[in-house]
């Protein structure tokens, strides 16, 4: 229909005017949503996460049958709980056990009577179910109201209610499993046996009731009717409802979580009704709820492999959150006066606005400090103070009886806030390069390595569980008590060092009906998100010495154990404090993790073996082997290199009188001077160099640029300029050497045949063993090169010189080098230095990524180091100019940065331009192809993405089990040829990821060393460049520039087949034997073996052997 319309309009040359309805839709999409396309994407997303119509009938059919069956289950006369358990055990059904177990001599009895009422409740009942992460089954909550007659007034005591409920559930389970052809399980959310439900799943191929098409499972939840004999007032948070026989705990301790859990059984129907009301009142509620759940599910607040502690089966919280936002606060009179109330949201908001409001609330609300009481109809049922004193986090629902967050640790809420903040940042910066919608709803954030600055994998199986019985009873299980204790201790110990701490555990699995207890969790992951301003603080201050005996001081000492000590500080204070001693910057970056380790060790007896991280293995990747460092006998590092650079600048400036022109500027353009070199630069003094074996001798030359004052004395001829530079260098070299004893200066002329190019450099070799190479920047060169390239620009030429094509080509090459080296390199250097100062984790990230790329044989030959530095800035800058280090999405550790860059590279569409605003000093200066003009080409990018995919998969899969080194090991199977080089002659070999120390120790014993040091000499790239230019159309070469001892190559596919002979074919060919005289043209074929022989000859002294992987 639409098609026809548009054709008609085209014919008449006029567009059909819009109807008012359409117009409003379009306007709304733009105004009420992020943008028109955002709205469309939301519309496209929603149906995919909602239940489909298919299979509904079968499900309803089953539910009716189930109901009919359940109300006709015969009653069972009262029995003592233990006897009842035994009866059921004989039938293979366990009664979910709740702590404390009933004593053998209890007076009360358990019994069964058919449920009074059976309802579909929860999100399915309201038709707002949202697909879950795992198994993608919707859960249909079926509440079965237990008759009041089964309960007595005192059943709130000692878990009697839960025992009765468990028994009820077990009887239902036994009866249903025999009557229906379905799979039955027990499921205890959060491992809490008090929350056990019965799960029914359609069995595949079941004859009678197959509702698998509806992708649902039925959760049977026994509930309490509102008119039950249990008095709600006995269940207020402050009441103590469990009596523990042991003497270790105080006789009367409040049991807020226990009480809350009983109350949860009373309100299923009420919640259903109120959500229904809300759905009717707010037109956008359904969509907003769905968006919120999808957002939360993607971040682990729900089910999943690694879900955030406390959010399992907390569907009612999300609905409650929206209800709170639309109803507003209930008045709370506190001591400090009446708290400021939140204004309820308007009813006409769009789903997106509602979603954003929810995020806004989550991001800004401090759950640890301010309680939330949803507006009720008849005021508080329970005094709010009771909640405030007994629950750490409070979010009380509209019935004023239930606190959604009673068993959610504060750490998880911190994380929720943090995630909300991050998403809001993305939404408010829609212009960012990445796809906001996908980041928000489509991408799963389960890759913990890219989500947290540090990840600690803790094995709890050996943890000492010294929690008191009362805490275990309160939390429902020993695991829950342990996790709650870990969470609160870590939160106190880390304080403001972290923005959020995540305790992640796998979702509690369903268990067969025969097992009474939920399996315990042994492995958890603790994720930390640092606050960069405080994370690496060296000292934690406690209370001062005067109040030694106060509670605060006691708590401080309890928290830190023997680490807490009284210290006097420079300002005269004497305080309790904990000092973290570090020697290197790597160690400093580990402080937060060491705190976690210390606390786990102190309070739970978990040694480092049980709490593992990836930090140290990652650090090791960037360090040279120990014996290499010993042999070098020097301490390097970027700081030392910068000091050496300053020294050189100072001595250059001191020469002022001896130079014909004054030196204006010396600009560094090297990664060694901007903290982004993979290895810390090491100086090698000439004296030591002679003793070192060849494979340890690599000394990087650090390029710098000299800028002199302007002068009219320069000749107006490119070749002459280069010669003048030579003369300049000679003067500088002579006077430098005479003024600095120990310093050596020489001039590298560069064997280029390009007459326009300024290859010459002044090489300065300082007494401490640093090597610099200086270039002179003369801005007239650019104009002169321009004139050669484009004679049209020369209006009147001073001489009638004509330039031929060859010279123009050479000039173009020279010009490219000129702009790169003199214009862009200093600018790039400044931008990167800025980034390093602004983001503490940036330099580490770049170093890791460079190492990784080099290890996969792509760095330098295919991807320039500058391009990588720019790509690595992406997770930090994120396409926004105003981002600061405290922004939620910015990584604060190099491991996370590395993981984020890998993620980006995995789906990097290199055809799409990547826009970053790095060059802040001059935003108009864009150099799109400056650092990528020499690659990567399609093959290299393809490989790059494949490696990134592998690596991020490996990082994610094994989380922490994995050996980090395997990420950096390169498989050579897919190369056609591998050229094995002789490691003893490679000066960089010691940087190899698999460097074998025998190479340099053996060499040292033999004493084969050349006396003259050659700073910067590295034959591998020279050989590689020669191979690349010689066989550019035949082979593609790859090698590890950091100490690689192999070169891999693949035959270019275009030369695979025989082809007719041509004189200028550009490859080494061999003639083919003629088979058919009549038709054949003179065919030739690529002479592969001869090429390999040639490579061997070109690399005499370097090549050990050539391994061919492919049948010739």
């Amino acid at each position: 229909m639409n098609q026809v319309d548009s054709e008609n309009t085209n014919r008449h040359g006029r567009e059909e005017p819009l109807t008012g309805h359409e117009l409003r839709d379009i306007k709304d999409a733009a105004d009420l949503y992020q943008s028109g396309s955002f709205k469309l994407q939301i519309d496209a997303l929603l149906p995919n996460v909602r239940p489909k119509e298919s299979g509904r009938q079968q499900l309803d059919h089953f539910l009716f049958a189930l109901r009919a069956h359940c109300i006709s289950i015969p009653s069972i006369a009262p029995l003592s709980p233990l006897a009842a358990m035994k009866v059921l055990a004989k039938q293979g059904v366990a009664v979910p056990s709740v702590f404390p177990l009933p004593a053998p001599d209890v007076k009360w009895k358990v019994a069964f009577e058919p449920p009074r009422e059976i309802c579909v409740v929860g999100s399915w009942g309201n038709g707002i179910a949202v697909k879950k992460q795992i198994g993608s089954r919707f859960s249909v909550d079926l509440s079965m109201e237990m008759p009041e007659a089964l309960f007595q007034e005192k059943d709130y005591l000692d878990g009697r209610f839960f025992h009765k409920k468990s028994y009820y559930l077990a009887i239902l389970a036994q009866s249903i499993s025999t009557a229906f052809d379905v799979d039955t399980f027990y499921s205890s959310a959060l491992g809490d046996p008090r929350l056990t439900t019965l799960v029914l799943r359609s069995r595949n191929g079941s004859a009678s009731y197959d509702f698998s098409k509806s992708h649902t499972e039925v959760h049977v939840i026994p509930v309490l009717s509102s008119s039950s004999p249990l008095s709600p007032s006995r269940l207020f948070p402050s009441h103590s409802n469990v009596r523990v026989p042991s003497s270790s705990s105080p006789p009367n301790f409040p049991t807020p979580i226990y009480n809350n859990t009983i109350l949860l059984s009373t309100c299923a129907k009420e919640a259903l009704m109120s959500t229904h009301e809300l759905k009717n009142a707010l037109p956008a509620f359904h969509d907003a709820y769905t968006l919120l759940r999808v957002w939360a599910n993607q971040r682990g607040y729900g089910d999943g492999e690694l879900c955030v502690r406390g959010f399992e089966r907390k569907g009612s919280f999300w609905a409650g959150l929206l209800r709170y936002l639309s109803l507003g606060d209930e008045l709370v009179g506190t001591k400090s006066g009446i708290a400021k109330l939140r204004k309820p949201l308007g009813k006409g908001l769009s789903s997106y606005q509602l979603f954003k409001a929810a995020l806004d609330f989550l991001a800004k609300h401090k759950f640890g400090e301010t309680p939330v009481f949803t507006k009720t109809t008849n005021g508080h049922r329970c005094p709010p103070e009771e909640y405030i004193t007994h629950h750490p986090a409070i979010f009380v629902d509209a019935t004023s009886t239930i606190n959604f967050l009673s068993d959610v640790p504060l750490t998880s809420l911190d994380l929720l806030s943090h995630d909300a903040k991050e998403t809001l940042e993305q939404l408010s910066n829609p212009g960012a390069s990445s796809d906001t919608f996908a980041d928000c709803f489509l991408k799963s954030r389960f890759k913990i390595s890219s989500r947290f600055d540090a990840v600690i994998r803790v094995n709890l199986s050996q943890a000492s569980r010294n929690q008191s019985t009362s805490t275990v009873i309160e939390h429902g299980s020993s695991d829950a008590a342990l996790l709650a204790s870990i969470s609160s201790l870590l939160r106190r110990g880390l304080g403001n060092r972290t923005q959020a701490i995540a305790i992640l555990q796998p979702v509690t699995p369903y268990r067969p009906m025969s097992s009474a207890e939920s399996p315990s969790t042994s492995i958890i992951h603790i994720g930390l998100i640092y606050d960069p301003a405080h994370a690496f603080r060296l000292v934690d201050h406690g209370p001062s010495a005067e109040d030694q005996d106060s509670n605060v001081a006691k708590e401080f000492r309890y928290l830190w154990g023997s680490r807490a000590e009284l210290r006097r500080f420079k300002d005269g204070r004497i305080t309790e404090s904990v000092v973290w001693e570090v020697t290197t910057s790597d160690e400093r970056a580990h402080i937060p993790v060491s705190i976690v380790r210390h606390l786990l060790q102190l309070h739970f007896g978990l040694s480092a073996k049980y709490a593992r991280t990836l930090q140290t293995p990652f650090d090791n990747i960037l360090q040279l082997p120990d014996d290499v460092r010993r042999l070098h006998r020097a301490t390097g590092g970027c700081k030392a290199a910068l000091i050496a650079f300053d020294g050189v600048v100072r001595s250059l400036k001191a020469l002022d009188e001896q130079l014909p022109l004054a030196l204006l500027n010396v600009s560094p353009i090297s990664e060694y001077l901007r903290y982004t070199s993979t290895f810390a630069p090491l100086p090698i003094p000439a004296s030591i160099s002679a003793e070192l074996p060849e494979s340890l001798r690599f000394l990087p030359t650090i390029p710098i640029i000299l800028e002199f004052e302007k002068s009219s004395k320069w000749p107006d001829d490119l070749k002459a300029i280069q010669k003048i530079k030579l003369a300049f260098f000679e003067t500088i070299a002579q006077s430098l050497m005479s003024s600095n004893p120990g310093l050596k200066a020489s001039i590298a002329t560069g064997g280029s045949s390009n007459p326009f190019q300024g290859y010459a450099a002044l090489e300065i070799f300082t007494a401490e063993g640093w090597s610099f190479s200086a270039f002179i920047w003369h801005d007239r060169e650019a104009t002169l090169l321009d004139r050669i390239i484009d004679p049209g620009k020369m209006f009147v030429s001073p001489s009638d010189q004509k330039y031929n094509a060859q010279e123009q080509r050479e000039a173009k090459v020279a010009q490219e080098l000129y702009t790169r080296r003199f214009i862009h390199a200093p600018r790039h250097h400044r931008a990167i230095v800025n980034l390093c100062h602004k983001y503490s984790a940036y330099s580490g990230t770049v170093r890791l990524v460079k190492r990784w790329l080099a290890a996969h044989w792509l760095l330098q030959t295919h991807v320039s180091e500058e391009a990588i530095e720019i790509i690595c800035a992406l997770p930090f800058v994120g396409g926004k100019q105003t981002s600061t280090e405290s922004a939620a999405a910015v990584p604060h550790s190099k491991e996370r940065g590395f993981s984020l860059v890998l993620e980006f590279l995995t789906d990097w569409d290199w055809k799409e331009p990547l826009c970053l605003t790095l060059y802040e000093d001059d935003p108009s200066a864009t150099a799109p192809e400056m650092w990528t003009s020499n690659g990567p080409d399609a093959i290299a990018v393809h490989r790059l993405r494949a490696f990134a995919r592998e690596a991020s998969k490996a990082l994610r899969n094994a989380e922490t089990e994995l050996d980090i080194k395997s990420l950096f090991l390169h498989s050579t199977d897919d190369y056609d040829i591998v050229i094995q080089l002789n490691p003893t002659v490679l000066p960089r070999y010691h940087q190899n990821i698999n460097a074998e120390s025998s190479v340099w120790t053996r060499d040292a014993h033999l004493g084969i060393t050349e006396s003259t040091p050659r700073p910067g000499f590295d034959p591998l790239p020279l050989f590689l460049a020669d191979l690349q230019s010689t066989y550019a159309d035949t082979l593609k070469f790859f090698a590890d520039s950091f100490g690689g001892d192999r070169i891999g190559a693949i035959w270019l596919p275009s030369l695979g087949a025989p082809r007719p002979f041509r004189a200028l074919a550009g490859f080494s060919s061999k003639p083919l034997a003629k088979e058919d005289k009549a038709k054949d043209k003179d065919l030739v074929m690529l002479n592969r073996q001869a090429v390999l022989d040639e490579i061997g000859r070109l690399g005499t002294g370097l090549v050990q052997k050539i391994i061919v992987h492919e049948p010739m």
Partner: protein
């Protein structure tokens, strides 16, 4: 092993024995293109020039000379002499090109040549060149070379198919690691050599400059008049005179773009575009239509994404 052809499209196949294979060089007598000027014929004399295809990339002149030693004495080898590439260039200054090819490292060849051509009285200073020891130059694989024999009888010998593969000769230029080391050392000559080189070059440059000034058509103070008799008005030197070799009077922007400055742009639109009611209506309509079009475009984009199953979050 099948018998390999001895000849291929008019080329003689010369097998070269490598350690574990054979390399093949294809040879043919050089036939100069007809349209060539005399000069290029002088460079590659017909009758005694051998055209070689698929020369090993690291071959030196000496090695090729050795390879064809038994055919006769080789006068000269030219690598990658490609006359089809840029005919004009080579026609005009092939002499120079040839010398450059021969003396790879002597970048000063050009100025010296120019000077030689101009027969002048004052003896010019001599450029002391930087040391250039014999190092290999690598060329692209499968490239070609012209080999000029001293005697034309050698050509026939070279073209007769050899009976057995010849071994690849080796000259004394270093290879591989020692080549790179030698190159590294060679690129860092002693300081005094550099000084001498730079000074003498500049002397020579000054000399050339002063001489070209003397010979230049235009002198200071004289107007520049082109062939058609037009006087070029240039921006004044010191005293507003038109000077030879000065910078053009036109603005830089004009020189680069050929467009005259921005005064025109400032001209305001005289007509208001929202004066009449119909203009306003049109405008509004346009806004709405644009909106609709954008919306439709978005819709299509999302449809496409939908097809790629993008909207299944998990």
């Amino acid at each position: 092993m099948p018998v390999l052809p001895k000849r291929l499209s008019g080329f003689t196949v010369i097998p070269i024995a490598y350690p574990s294979s054979s390399h093949f060089i294809y040879a043919r007598a050089h036939t100069p293109p007809k349209s060539k000027t005399l000069k290029s014929k002088n460079v590659l004399p017909e009758g005694r020039t051998l055209f070689l295809v698929n020369v090993p990339p690291d071959a030196t002149e000496h090695e090729l000379t050795l390879l064809f030693k038994d055919c006769g004495t080789v006068e000269r080898v030219l690598f990658d002499f490609n006359s089809a590439d840029a005919p004009e260039e080579y026609a005009s200054d092939s002499d120079e090109e040839m010398d450059e090819a021969a003396e790879e490292f002597d970048t000063e060849a050009r100025p010296r040549k120019k000077r030689k051509l101009q027969t002048s009285e004052p003896t010019p200073p001599k450029v002391i060149s930087l040391p250039s020891p014999s190092l290999r130059t690598l060329r692209k694989t499968g490239s070609c070379a012209h080999l000029i024999f001293l005697d034309s009888s050698s050509l026939a010998k070279a073209l007769s198919p050899p009976t057995s593969p010849k071994p690849w000769p080796s000259s004394e230029e270093p290879r591989g690691l020692s080549h790179y080391m030698a190159k590294y050392d060679n690129e860092r000559p002693p300081l005094d050599t550099i000084k001498a080189h730079a000074d003498s070059f500049m002397e020579c440059f000054e000399f050339d400059l002063s001489k070209s000034k003397q010979e230049a058509k235009y002198r200071k103070g004289e107007a520049i008049v082109d062939e058609d008799g037009f006087t070029l008005v240039t921006r004044g030197g010191a005293y507003g005179q038109t000077l030879g070799g000065g910078v053009g009077v036109a603005s830089k922007k004009f020189m680069l773009t050929g467009q005259i400055g921005g005064r025109k742009k400032k001209d305001k639109k005289k007509e208001k575009d929202a004066f009449y009611a119909f203009q306003k209506a049109e405008k509004q309509r346009k806004v709405i239509l644009d909106m609709k079009n954008n919306f439709e475009a978005d819709k299509q984009r999302i449809e496409k994404l939908k097809e790629s199953r993008r909207f299944k979050p998990y």
